[in-house]
Each structure stands twice: as structure tokens, then as C-alpha cells.
Amino acid sequence: MDGMLALYIFMLAAFTGYEVISRVPVILHTPLMSGSNFVHGVVLVGGMIALGQAETPLEQAIGFVAVLLGAANAAGGYVVTERMLAMFKAKEKK
């Protein structure tokens, strides 16, 4: 990938992350930490491609670990966040 182009992506993504979070009420900090934890579970995709290109047993073994850990990050992150957010409901108006 073009290094300069990647640098621009880095920069814009960093500002986006900062902006998206900056107006979050404290009550959502924990679910949000958990939710952002889920989002970086996309590392699973990188692990899959690394494993897909692996040739020697060593590469396969490390690639397997990468996919295993990535999948755990994504699945666990989703379940935990979903459970937390499921509990947020306003009092029904009477």
C-alpha cells in the first residue's frame, strides 16, 4: 500500500475515533470500552489472511493462534457488549 496514502488514512481515522467518543456520557464509558474492544476484533480478518498464506508448519501454527485469538476477541467482545447494552432502558412513561 502507498505509504503516504496510509498516513492519511491513519490521520483521518484518528480524528474520527476522537470525535466519535468525545460526546459520550459517563454511563456509557464501560459499554463503549467493551464495544471498541469488539471493533478491533476485526484483527480476525488479518489473522485469516495470514493463515491463508501460511506454508510451513511454523507459519500455520502461528497463523492458527492468530485466528483463534482474533475470533475470541470478536465473539467475546460482542457478547459482553450486547449484554451490557441490553440493560440500558429508560423508565417507561406512565
Binding site: A13, N37, F38, G46, T56, K89
Partner: protein, 457 residues
């Protein structure tokens, strides 16, 4: 070519869904939709990756996804809400480990194209490995597997030395014309060791900030490895989380008045003990406590981690409903670091059914304590310690606190006379208008409920 286009387009959509998902999670109303959007993005990205041309090892891939996914899914479903912080820590550590492992595969393949790629792969490996081993230690501490904060002699010097050696070895890898397996192996061992050494001396009370920091670390590591693999979706998701996690870490550290450098390098106990507090703790019975609140017009409840550990949040909500039926205005005041993470207490209260519009944070409610008849402190300690305002020698001096001491009456539910988690004396407990209700939160509030019921007949 069509497949390549489909994959790229799917990654693009996934990246949009991740950002929209995080955006949605920043408001209680849209939060649930947010995580579902992000989830759809994740499934989409994972499924299309199987279509990538020229890939092998599909059987291994499916086994790894099924195994890792199933174990994490089931343990995530089962974990109690009080244990949520360590679960986030361990899942986060796994993400960091995955990023480091991706770098390891690339090193093993020995096909690093150019210095920039090698540099970012190495950087991602370092950050990911530190996040992995550090998160495991954080998990072990919060889970109670590892009890004590453990300090080496000259801890800071050891930390810095180890960090410098690790960076030096990393630098050697980047400069070397070919990949040296010995050097790479040593690098990973050093990086993992560094994560352990950094996290070991940190006390449990500071752990939320550390978990948040490692969360940001993992994001960065994922972003860097995304560049190495040439997948923009990984770069975007990783860096967005890196930036958001950094901001979140700063917010938490600010709420605790503990700069991140202090948390990492200065242990709480070494900061000095603070002044001794004069006076006596005055006890109150459940019946008097019940009467005090039943005939109050406004009660502010300050819940702390002690309440959550006792599992008393359901009882507290039951009591709140009883008091409200009797015409008392009851609200909850939450300190930013109540519980083990910012917002953790809100989650625990939400679990008990407390609507979020009855829950207020520090800035919103601090002015109201003076108008409250009763401040009911349940299992909270440092976050209501007035020494933070007055006593310069106190380790928590300067930390923003909830002004529970300004209320007409203060009732503190407490297990015993000790100083609690941080070991700091609390002047609030000795004030003239403070009464202590001894007992576990579960049992003490249970008794109060009985007496409130008796008064309401």
C-alpha cells in the same frame, strides 16, 4: 477480478458500519443498534475474507474460528456483571495477541517489503505483545488469581531498561536486510516480558485505566498490522479504536486525578498515608436509618463497588421504589470511577432495573447534596472522602469527589470499621452528621426495607 471488487467493497462497508456502530454506542438510545451494526460489519468482513483468492488452510481456519469463537461466546454469556472488567481485559489481550501473531507469521514468511512495512510490523508486534501479556496480568489480578501488587527493587529502572532493550532489538530487526529468526524470537519474548513487568506493580484500583490503555494499544497494533497486510478496514477500525481508547483513558485518569504516568510508575501506597482522623464513628440501627429516609424529601444514594460485591443492587432498587411510593425523591450519584471501570456502576444498576434517568454523574449532582436530607453511601469510600478536598498530604488529594458530606445527614453502609480497599482513612465517617450502619450491604438494606415497609402501613 469481480471477487476482488466484492471483497474490497465489503471491507469498505464494514469500516463504515464500525464507525456508525461506535457512534451509535455514544448515546443510550441508539447504543443497542450500534453494537448490532458493528456486529453485522464484523460478520460481513469475516465471510468475504474466505473468498480471498489464493488462500490455503481453510480447515485450520474454520477450526480456529469455531474454537476461539465458541469458547469466548460461552464464557461471555456466563460471566457475572461484576466480573465484566476482567472479561474485557482478557478479550482485549487476545486481540493484541492476534495482532502480534500476524506480525510473527509475516516475519516467518520473511517477505517484508521495505523498511516502512517492517517498521510498522515490528511496532504492531511490540504493542500487541505488551497488550497481550499485560492484559493477562490485569485479568489475573481482577479475577483474584494474583492477589498482591508485586514490585521489583528499582522497578522503574528495570522497566525503562527492559523497554530500551526491546526497542533496540526491534530496531535491529527493522535495519537488518533479512529476517533473523533468533532476533525475532528474542524480540517477542522481551515484548511479552515487558507487558508483564509493567502491569505487575499496578494496584487493583488503577486497573480500569490500565485496561483502557491496553485497549487503545491493541487498536493501534491492529491498525499497524492492517497496513502490513494491506487491508484498509483493519487500519481504520484499529486506529479509530486506538484514538477513542486513548481519549477514554485520559478521561478516566482525569477522573481519578492520577496522571497516566503516575499510575504506571508511582504506586499508590508509596504516595504517603495522609493525616490521621480524630473522632469517633457513630453507629445507627436499621430502624432509625429507615425512618430518616422515609420522612426525608430527598435522598441521594452513592453506590460503590462494595454494594456490587455484596450483590445488593436489587435490594437497593427495591428500597428506592418503596421510598418513592412514600413520596421521597431518590436519585443515584455515580462517581466516574465507581466500580472497576468508568460506567461500570451504571451497568450494575441498570442490571437491577434502575432507569438511567435516575442516575447522575459527579458534575450533575454535586450541587444537589446541600439540598438533600440524606446521603446514603453504600460500599463506597474514597470517592466520598472529603480529605481529597482539604488534606494535602492525603494520597487522594485533588481527586474530584462526591460531596456527600454536604448533605443534612449521611448514612454509611459499611461492613466494619476498617479503612477499605485503598487503606486511606475517611474523614466523612467521623463527621457529626454521619451515622454508620454496619453490616453487609445486602443484609443491611434488607433490614431497612423491612422497617420502611412497617412505617408505610
Amino acid at each position: 477480478m469481480a471477487i476482488k471488487w466484492l471483497i474490497d467493497a465489503s471491507y469498505f462497508v464494514a469500516a463504515i458500519l464500525f464507525i456508525l456502530g461506535l457512534k451509535g454506542m455514544s448515546s443510550p438510545v441508539s447504543a443497542r443498534k450500534g453494537i448490532v451494526w458493528a456486529g453485522v460489519g464484523m460478520v460481513l468482513a469475516t465471510v468475504v475474507t474466505f473468498l480471498t483468492p489464493g488462500m490455503n488452510n481453510f480447515a485450520l481456519m474454520v477450526i480456529a474460528i469455531a474454537l476461539g469463537g465458541a469458547v469466548a461466546w460461552i464464557s461471555g454469556k456466563k460471566v457475572a456483571m461484576t466480573d465484566m472488567p476482567q472479561m474485557v481485559a482478557i478479550y482485549n489481550g487476545m486481540g493484541g495477541g492476534a495482532a502480534a501473531a500476524i506480525a510473527a507469521v509475516e516475519f516467518a514468511r520473511g517477505e517484508m517489503h521495505g523498511t516502512v512495512v517492517t517498521l510498522l510490523a515490528t511496532l504492531g508486534a511490540l504493542i500487541g505483545a505488551v497488550s497481550f501479556s499485560g492484559s493477562v496480568v490485569a485479568w489475573a489480578k481482577l479475577q483474584g488469581v494474583m492477589k498482591k501488587a508485586f514490585r521489583l527493587p528499582a522497578q522503574n529502572a528495570v522497566n525503562i531498561l527492559l523497554a530500551l532493550v526491546t526497542v533496540a532489538v526491534g530496531g535491529a530487526i527493522v535495519i537488518a536486510p533479512t529476517v533473523d529468526p533468533l532476533l525475532v524470537g528474542a524480540f517477542f519474548v522481551l515484548a511479552l516480558l515487558l507487558g508483564v513487568i509493567i502491569t505487575l506493580p499496578i494496584g487493583g484500583a488503577d486497573m480500569p485505566v490500565v485496561i483502557s490503555l491496553f485497549n487503545a494499544f491493541t487498536g493501534l497494533a491492529v491498525g499497524f498490522e492492517g497496513f502490513v497486510m494491506g487491508i484498509p478496514a483493519l487500519i481504520i477500525a484499529g486506529i479509530v479504536v486506538g484514538a477513542a481508547g486513548t481519549l477514554l483513558t485520559q478521561l478516566m485518569a482525569k477522573a481519578m486525578n492520577r496522571p497516566i504516568s503516575n499510575i504506571l510508575f508511582v504506586p499508590m501506597a508509596a504516595a504517603g498515608g495522609g493525616e490521621a482522623v480524630e473522632g469517633e464513628q457513630k453507629e445507627v440501627g436499621a430502624m432509625d436509618a429507615a425512618a430518616l429516609m422515609r420522612y426525608a424529601s430527598k435522598v441521594i444514594i452513592v453506590p460503590g463497588y462494595g454494594m456490587a460485591v455484596a450483590g445488593a443492587q436489587h435490594k437497593v432498587w427495591e428500597m428506592t421504589e418503596l421510598l418513592e411510593e412514600a413520596g421521597v425523591e431518590v436519585v443515584f450519584a455515580i462517581h466516574p470511577v465507581a466500580g472497576r471501570m468508568p460506567g461500570h456502576m451504571n451497568v450494575l444498576l441498570a442490571e437491577a432495573g434502575v432507569p438511567y434517568d435516575k442516575i447522575f454523574d459527579l458534575e450533575e449532582i454535586n450541587g444537589d447534596f446541600a439540598q438533600a436530607d440524606v446521603a446514603l453511601v453504600i460500599g463506597a469510600n474514597d470517592v466520598v472522602n472529603p480529605s481529597a478536598r482539604t488534606d494535602k498530604s492525603s494520597p487522594i488529594y485533588g481527586m474530584p469527589i462526591l460531596n456527600a458530606d454536604m448533605a443534612q445527614n449521611v448514612i454509611v453502609v459499611k461492613r466494619g470499621k476498617g479503612t477499605g480497599y485503598s487503606g486511606i482513612e475517611n474523614a466523612l465517617f467521623y463527621k457529626d452528621n454521619t451515622r454508620l450502619l454496619y453490616g453487609s450491604a445486602q443484609q443491611a438494606i434488607g433490614e431497612v426495607i423491612q422497617h420502611v415497609k412497617a412505617l408505610s402501613v
